[in-house]
């Protein structure tokens, strides 16, 4: 049984660009609209880059305090995708 529910849908994201973040993450998703529902992120788990061919993808693991979300930013096409949701109720 895999606790992740795969979504793979393009979503609307409101990110925060932090100008004085130093070595910390300068761009972090803050709010997401998914199927009409507004989700506000409260915690960044991890961000890491990955590649699809030569396209740079930034993967963000976010949490709203209940569920975990994996969101990916395609840095070439500037598209945000909700890849999966991991339900807190499962765990």
């Amino acid at each position: 049984m895999n606790p992740m529910e795969e979504i793979n849908e393009v979503v609307d994201i409101v990110p925060i660009f932090r100008g004085h973040a130093g070595d910390q993450f300068k761009c972090v998703p803050w709010k997401m609209v998914y199927r009409g529902r507004e989700i506000i992120f409260t915690q960044l788990g991890m961000r890491h880059p990955t590649e699809k061919g030569k396209r740079m993808i930034h993967a963000f693991n976010m949490s709203d305090g209940v569920n975990d979300y994996r969101i990916e930013l395609d840095a070439e096409r500037l598209i945000w995708t909700l890849v999966y949701v991991m339900g807190g109720e499962y765990v």
């Binding site: 606790p3 991890m46 890491h48 993967a59 991991m86 339900g87 765990v91």
Partner: protein
Amino acid sequence: MYNDINKEKPMIMFIDLNSAFATAEQQAHPTLRGKPMGVTNRISKECCVIAASYEAKALGIKVGMRLSDARAICKDFIMLETDAPKYHQVYQKLVRIMKDYSPKTWMKSIDEGVIDFHGMEPTLNGRSLVDIGYEIKQRVRDEIGDWMKINIGISMNVFLAKQAAGWHKPDGLDVIDHKNLKKFYAERTLLDLTGIAERNEARLNSYGIMNPLQFLAADEYMLKKRVFNSITGTYWYRRLRGHEIDDFDTKLGMIGRQWVLRDPTNKDDLLRSYLSFLCETTGMKVRYKNVEARGVCVWARFRNGESWYAKRMHKSSFYTNQEIYRRALELFNQRPSGADVQTMGIYCYGVEPSKASQMSMFEDISKVGDLTKAVDEINDFYGAFTVYSANTIEGKKVIKQKIPFGGTEYFELLLKRA
């Protein structure tokens, strides 16, 4: 000089990420923190735990245990699939932190690294390695993630530093020097020592060496001539006393790949496709290492418990996927017919530096080299397995890249395929 315990100041720091993959997943997924969970390469009913969180370990769930057994211990045990780019990010950040303290740093594996502070005393400004160790722990929490924990061991050689890192898990920091070396050995069993597994333990036991203190007290002649019957005995004699003997580079001997079939089969077309996939990934590794090979070995283990292998050394070297597959297939066709293959593998040996840059007198050889280079460039640009052999199609559907546990030499290559 090797007869006494090394009394030099401990200057080797060993850093070990606690349950690295599982902790990285807990870092990424806050809802998993504090819960028994593990990771595996591909989730199936009988998949194995390749890393377990500390919460899972506390319940008795061990690495290598099947998912069904883990769930029997804890019904809420959560299993995730591995995510190589995530672990690479942790790895890169850890390397970056380590390199801030000494240019002499190296990774023993994805989750273990060594910092050699010899010659770095002037830059330490009088700070002790223990101070620096606590600083590194804090930096790991700040720069990688607040859930990340590391064990740190400090000692005179890599072996003892690793033992120190495992002394008080998780999140420990320990120093082993000539003053507390015997105290450390007194608290451990032979099996706790890295490099001593059941067979070596039995070997030591048969000469009356029942614990690490007796191992330390054993004389070099006995270890070399009787217990180990080789130079290994001398190495152990020195290693246990804190003298460095593990700081050498190993020579690349073979390059290969293996695969455990989910459903054992004797269907020739399927097995050939799996073999073709294994040959393609082996070929990628060969070219990534900029080497060529002269020998091929193909092996299989069958459902009935029997095993088989065939190997052949060739006069000319090779490096393309097609050449590896052609040679491997010749051997693979000699396997016992009818038996269901459960595990199969291939490796290339007789490895030598690549001669691909040399011009060939023969046009057909140059064409093969050019084609391979072009395919590699396309796959590098658009993602691995964009162009691949038609033989591989079925194999590609089922075989997944494994996370390398030992060395980190193929990690960059793996990420291209992730």
